[in-house]
Subunit: 466 residues, 4 copies
């Protein structure tokens, strides 16, 4: 499991009140962020309600105070440290064009640089978020332009990074995807022909009964009204660079990204690792819940029985600092327990989607050994992570990666396993079913699809030369 | 899935402070009750902390203010209605013998009758709980007796029903199981020889590193100290009547009850239904999470691929009343979504552990059909539920059961399935691996192991004639 | 200012729903207790809602869920330590007679002794409150008697102490006052002839527009219905022993106790101290808010101007432990600030209602000196407190009293004043306007109107020999 | 009593950590705002903590996490409607000059106009507060200027209205007062020569033991460091226009404003009304707490006894909507109760500081009549309010004022009094002791010291032509 990241966004333009559809769409994206939730809708003016916590905690199943037939919504991921209401989205700004609201998912690589430039021009920032940079830049462009597409183009020429956005400009909903399509964003048709929706994942469409239409293209801006969607190709013409981790871990298995069911990709990956790293074993055990689909694929391919030999405690909340070593050990044990009857005396294949630091995996291997496993072979549904992500995943430093400068046997030793097998790059690419050059593989290769100071750019052009 | 029920209990006698062990033991039993949590410990006097919510919400990972080397703990299940702090456990009473605290799991069938009798004697009850009846009766017996076993015997002679209890009498921990052993209760040895633990399920032992020793016998009272366990056979000599639902649904899969891993029983049940109700199908799909292990067994037996074609939303909290039909439909859709690529055009076997009303199952069958399933065959890991439970499960009236007075085809029609197949009684009994007469099958047969007014007793003797 | 004590009670029998009247009556008594609040009403059964905090915090201005035309209510005082919802009132018990609820104000001197006796009989207590003792004793008596007065008599014969009570026995409201009438309790007629009310102070009558009828007599039990009040003389025939502190400090100035306005008594006291302890001075300054009315009387008598030269911060909440001496000093300064222009160069008479420890008074004298007072003469509206209270005020130990074994000059030195003048006992008695033998003066004399182990009884008879 | 308004501010530059001094200074100003509280301090960077509620609720007596030897703090008033954390202060902005924080008290009359102009330049505002306008304008000026005084001058030339401000620019604390000195702001010296403090009222100095030095002059900017204060005359040369309501109602009686104790002014006003509107009466009764000091002055002047014949309930919290007329009446009665013995058969002079709508006064007069007053003469410590305030008090529309277009007898009739007597304008001016032209009397005259669109300006020059 990689660290938490991501956000989820929804935008809807309808003929009818949208608060409940935004609310349920957001709840379907809850896995993308549990720190804060917010909804902004427009009727005469933009109104916005935000709060810390899960969507249903913030809105108590009652978002209906928010009037209006168009709006946007956002869930934000949970990090340990400085989670504050000030960082929650959507952000709202009033400008000469009227009120606008904005919600986004991703990481603006050059946000600090832009901020510094703007400060030189006398701008003062009253939050520390990318959101303020984005909405004020956009509002600034809109002030001097009456056409939204040109304003958005000027914005997109300036910012570098991953960003899927929904923007509410009075009664219009704008969906924007970065020129590399790093973060997902799709379009759907509301039930009964009432309008259109844009959302991070198709599951947000499913929950409200909307019909999937297509993904927003990299570099595209789509204007949604209750009657139509209007497409504007803002930037692009280049190959995309979809984040491979969406299929491997982030997205829900029942989502369809770039035309492929996440579930199917994970199942395919499971089979593929089995082919690439076969091993004599008695039982296939997933790391719950992240490795489950991969493990079923592995089992299907090999015929070795699939057993949920590790049981996850479903009631784990915020963990406080525990005072003693003994308490901390019980806390680890609490999270995962083995079904000894399925492990004891067995050669176990333990399957997970990825490894970052390896500390959790080491504990799980240990749990299996204590439950009597004679061998533990770890199989991972992605290639080794060896480089930071600057485009939306919360792993920013190199020294944390167990796979960096280590061979597979060395990694196995580090995590206490008999063997470790990672999915090959080819395997990953083939299971996702897109070309290798259509994916962002930065954390696996150290080469990034956008220019990051101090890192190798995968393409020889600067993105802002578009 | 049957309705929520159950409680979880833990009692520990040690040479060292027990608050953290009780806390983690309780967290391992969190699945048995999410309404309230409480811990009582003894040092000079009994101190007790209780609160509404999950264990970690009540104690904030910090139970260490509770001093003492012995104590008991309790989690209580969540019902919709009158959940109040007054109903939480442990309860504490001060009597001539000193302070005592008590926590129990089960249902006292004749609590109202006893309460009525005692009121005639001038007793006034200041709560409406069984707990007050139990602790005051016990304290009353202890007042006139210096030996605990005789006091417990007098209590047990009086009460009829299911009850596993832990009682803290000054520095002694007493574990008591009803004469039929309806509710589970097991004993373990603390790590490093520091003492003993009693708990509802073995997972509470696992989390603190305790070693399983044996189940408390039906009708047995065990006195735990830090040095030894002392057994007293209080009532019994009859066959037990273990609640079969513990294996089918309540207990965690990684628990061992009466010597059998819950996981293994469920896997066995899955295979057995496959034998009893084979069907031509393309895919086996569990109702998550309750039908998962059963479905894997069904898949293993038939070779038909196991697919997690239904995805459960992990972030469902308290549901409020939704104002519109549309919102209520979205709320249903939110809970469970289909992976269309695994369902469309397929003949699906849907596996769950049990059916009570059938309303949820009907919605799930409908979800599968809308995802393109050509056939949906429902397979259930237990026989039809046709009678109320008076011994601890929250289903008290007959009119709710979809299976009552209906044939399988009629039930299939009711829930919209192509066919329904229930596990046979023999199948259930054989998979659990105990004799039929060693199980409580009241909700499946309408014959109860204890006398319930207006119902058939399975045995011809009155329990209180022991 | 003496320490916080007291509770407030209300009971109403009406032809109409009483929840709001109980609620507002309780709010008018909020000064008698800020820790917890509760209301119990009867309709078919007794329902009770209780919570920690102020009345309006607990009920949020919405007590109307509590149905029924009769009920009782209670506020409880705030102590620093173990404030718990378990200690809040009313308490409810179900007995052979049906449900009963009880709320009381006072202190049962022999509660522990009774508890011990009852434990010997096998009773177990599930709380540590006097309330449980009272309600269970009463319910026990009621079980064997069909007439309430005899049950109440048996209860009152057993308990010794101060107690005003309201009891709800199905649809009857019973008001009971201890044989010495230590705590106040009065009767009123609801507006529009709808029924009757009993309450701790007349202000509870005022707020609902009820008309004051009379005080409940010491030793009297009054049965309230919507049509009439029926009086039963249970115990008595002796002189009363009203707590003098009700007039001096506890009761609201706008309450009438034993026929005398509290405001008038305090004003009279102010004048009387002026006569007893005249001093040449420039200004009379009260300790806000407790000494205000006394100080106005002093000013009126002497013609020396009354000035509110000390300003109290109205926003003082719960005080936490402050880390540094500097912070603690600022915290003292925060509570009270001087109006220098009214103090500087002046001879100040500082007036308060009473002194217990003297620590607060010392700080206030110091504040005045730092504001430039040339002299500070302290005048106190009650005689020196030299003995504990066992009958309802939270001062249980002797070593805390600054006046014990000290002469006036010694006390003045202790608190840094130029002189101290206490009201004489005669002055107090005359201002209250009742005979000396009609008052409880235990904390001033060390002689108590009931037998307290280790203390002198003022009367030579045992109270329970009634 | 006029409606709630005002805010309170504190700024401190010291050689030692300032969090506790800011905290206690703020608590001393709590009467100026109860909605939200915030503190910002500087050490390497600016840190800011804000929250809804009273100061001690937000900081729980523990502000010590905020490091640094300089900082600013703010309390905000409570309105019924849109109280949100987003509106709380201090606001923090990062600019090319570094972080700055700002807190202010007052009303910027041309904030909307400025906002509109700036939007035309492409600025987008992400809150709706004056604070954002102020801090971004200031930061914008600072970006192009290295000297703070010129930046502040440019800001002050642009804004029209009332504003006392404290600004934290890295480690410098700047105190600014508008050119008319409408809102109060004073300077003090910390104890032990540790530095300097600026605050809304002198009570904030008293609480931390600081010595009052002088008021900040209208149009002055003072730079505070731990070693010195440096004064910059930014705008001015004109006469001030201090808000007269600070003395009449807002400020604490123990504060000194423009050299006059608030208490003394109120006392003087009381005497003066007695001279201007004498009446034969038996008793002087204040509206608690606002009319108390005025009433004492009235009593002193006339010799008619002062009696606190109306008792205010100290435990009034947020009022919810009550369902019935009866409940609403009880709620009114709850707030204020009469001491009948002091009212009955008496001719009462009721004294308050001011009247806005008259609805509350009507209820109080009615309370006195029901308590038996034979006559009620209302005396008001300020002239009639007949015009809106645009400079900081929450009364923006004309139609609310009872005194508008009514003679005194008509007002008396409206509020049910036998007579009404308002303080004369001369009386007010003389008691405050400043020249009439040194006060803002806008709400009494309809002529404002600054240009307000649609209203008469008292001076014929535009303020921004300074």
């Amino acid at each position: 499991m990689p660290p938490k990241e991501a956000c989820g966004i929804v935008g809807i333009a309808s003929t009818r009140p949208v608060a409940f559809q935004l609310y349920f769409g957001l709840r379907a994206l809850q896995h993308r962020g549990q720190e804060s939730a917010g909804i902004a809708t427009f009727q005469d003016k933009i109104q916005c309600v935000k709060g810390m916590g899960l969507v249903h905690e913030v809105f108590q199943d009652n978002p209906s105070d928010l009037p209006g037939a168009c709006g946007i919504a956002h869930v934000r991921y949970s990090t340990t440290g400085s989670s504050k209401i000030e960082n929650s989205q959507p952000v709202v700004a009033s400008s000469s064009t009227g009120d606008i609201a904005l919600a986004h998912n991703g990481d603006i690589v050059n946000a600090d640089a832009i901020r510094k430039e703007l400060k030189k021009l006398g701008w003062a920032f009253i939050t520390t978020t990318d959101s303020e940079v984005l909405i004020r830049l956009l509002a600034n462009e809109l002030a001097s332009l009456d056409d939204i597409p040109r304003a958005v183009r000027n914005l997109m020429r300036r910012i570098v990074g991953s960003y899927s956005m929904v923007v509410l400009i009075r009664d219009r909903v704008i969906a924007i995807r970065d020129p590399l399509g790093i973060k997902p964003l799709c379009l759907g048709r509301l039930p009964d022909g009432n309008g259109y929706i844009a959302a991070s994942e198709t599951v947000a469409l499913d929950v409200i009964g909307a019909e999937f239409e297509r993904d927003v293209e990299p570099g595209e801006m789509v204007e949604l009204t209750s009657r139509e969607t209007r497409s504007h190709r803002i930037l692009g013409g280049r190959r995309p660079a979809h984040c491979m981790f969406e299929w491997v871990y982030f997205a829900r298995p029942d989502s369809v990204l770039a035309g492929r069911y996440v579930y199917d990709v994970r199942r395919c990956i499971g089979k593929r690792i089995a082919q690439e790293h076969p091993v004599k074993a008695d039982v296939i055990v997933p790391v719950p819940d992240s490795g489950r689909t991969h493990a079923q694929g592995y089992s299907e391919e090999t015929g070795i029985p699939y057993e949920e030999g590790l049981i996850k405690n479903r009631y784990i909340g915020r963990t406080f600092i525990l005072p003693t070593k003994e308490a901390r050990e019980m806390n680890v044990q609490l999270k995962l327990n083995a079904v000894r009857s399925r492990i004891q005396g067995k050669r176990v294949v333990l399957v997970d989607d990825s490894i970052v630091r390896g500390t959790t995996t080491r504990k799980i291997v240990d749990t299996l050994r204590r439950a009597g496993a004679t061998q533990v072979h770890v199989r991972i549904g992605s290639p080794p992570i060896i480089a930071p992500c600057y485009l939306g995943i919360d792993m920013k430093t190199r020294d944390q990666f167990v796979a960096l400068n280590r061979t597979s046997p060395e990694i196995a030793a580090e995590i206490g396993a008999d063997s470790v097998g990672y999915l090959s790059m080819d395997g990953l690419v083939e299971c996702i079913g897109l070309g290798r050059n259509d994916l962002c593989l930065g954390c696996l290769t150290g080469e990034y699809p956008v220019e990051v100071p101090g890192e190798k750019a995968r393409f020889q052009v600067k993105l802002d030369s578009y």
